[in-house]
Amino acid sequence: MASKIKVKVKLKGDVAEVKSLMLHPMETGSRKDPDSGATIPVHHITELTFLNNGETVMAVHCSTAVSRDPFFSFSFTGAKAGDTLEVRWVDNKGESDSVETVLG
């Protein structure tokens, strides 16, 4: 199965424009199963971190307000070709995922 995180980075000078799409159910814990009526348990990303060469450039604390298969986009300065950008998340169940990409 392909990676559950996709990341694309556009480098303009020393500004990196990061776009990331990740698969995650992001269950709020409020939804009910339409067939059984049972509440679908909470299951969402709690921490999402973007690191450039090991240094955190964006830290996101997620909760129930973020919808399924979240898409994140942001820019940061001080980037250069050859840098390694890592995207990693941890969810409330303790599951995690990560992916790396090289800039430029």
Binding site: K4, K6, D69
Partner: protein, 279 residues
């Protein structure tokens, strides 16, 4: 020498016969459809209609182009490819059931099967391929079937829609049935498909901006932001029929297959651009 009055009568009759409009066939319908929208929206090139409302609404288009930079349907296309390549328990595969191994052939669907006397959609063909090979059929709205359809659409991106009506009275009847469905009012709200997507294309229904039917089937299956997943064309038909408060028919019912036949024929010549993303 013929009497002048008789000559005039003869000429008049001849003129009348020669100017009789040919009984409109599917090609005439398709040309009239395109001409109608050309006239309604003179600044919109016909090729653009495959982008639905984004061909008509510049602000929505901007947002859509943003989303398309990182298409939400990419995961489904990848999943679809994995599923497509998976062999069945009997060793066979989807490639055995389609021309060209199932790659780059989506633009020819739906097709009319003269032996079965019915319209065969891509989804129907996929499930029949499964059952013929001893696999259980997927539910019509299952993630798996939609992913397979998304992958096959992806392999046909950029190809012109090319749906055929073979020289078979049942084929033409199916087309005509789809056409009749499209133009018939239904439901408690008494709407025909054409009321929203021809007459009121470009207008608003509550907060939704109505797209034109020209180009509609090109981008299915489609990722719906509202649902966070891809849906099939028949799922959309189901929703529309329900929204006008008629009891919806089931996905892959004869009604919807004939409707898909008619609608896709109307979009012949336009580019497949599935899977698409919509709100």
């Amino acid at each position: 020498m013929l009497r002048p009055a008789f000559c005039r009568l003869l000429l008049l009759c001849l003129a009348a016969i020669l100017s009789l409009p040919a009984l409109a066939g599917p090609e005439e319908d398709r040309e009239a459809f395109r001409a109608y929208f050309s006239q309604r929206f003179p600044d919109v090139p016909l090729d653009e209609y495959v982008n639905g409302i984004y061909a008509l609404d510049p602000k929505a288009r901007e947002q859509w182009l943003d989303i398309e930079q990182f298409p939400p349907y990419e995961f489904a296309v990848e999943q679809g490819e994995v599923l497509f390549r998976q062999a069945f328990a009997n060793g066979g595969g989807y490639a055995d059931c389609f021309d060209n191994g199932g790659i780059g052939i989506r633009q020819h669907y739906p097709r009319f099967d003269p032996a079965l006397g019915e319209v065969v959609t891509l989804e129907l063909a996929l499930n029949r391929c499964r059952t013929r090979n001893g696999e259980s059929a997927y539910a019509w709205d299952s993630d798996e079937l939609v992913a397979l359809s998304a992958y096959m659409a992806w392999t046909s991106r950029g190809k012109a829609i090319d749906v055929e009506i073979p020289d078979d009275p049942n084929a033409l009847a199916a087309y005509e049935a789809g056409k009749r469905f499209y133009y018939s009012k239904r439901g408690q709200l008494n709407f025909a498909c054409s009321d929203c997507h021809v007459t009121s294309a470009g207008a608003y229904v509550r907060a939704d901006h109505l797209s034109a039917s020209l180009g509609h089937p090109s981008h299915f299956p489609v990722y719906r932001s509202k649902l966070g997943r891809l849906i099939s064309l028949h799922s959309r038909f189901y929703g529309c029929v329900r929204d006008v408060r008629a009891r919806p028919f089931e996905e892959q019912s004869e009604e919807y297959r004939n409707l898909e036949y008619f609608l896709t024929y109307m979009s012949n010549g336009l580019m497949v651009n599935g899977p698409g993303a919509r709100k």
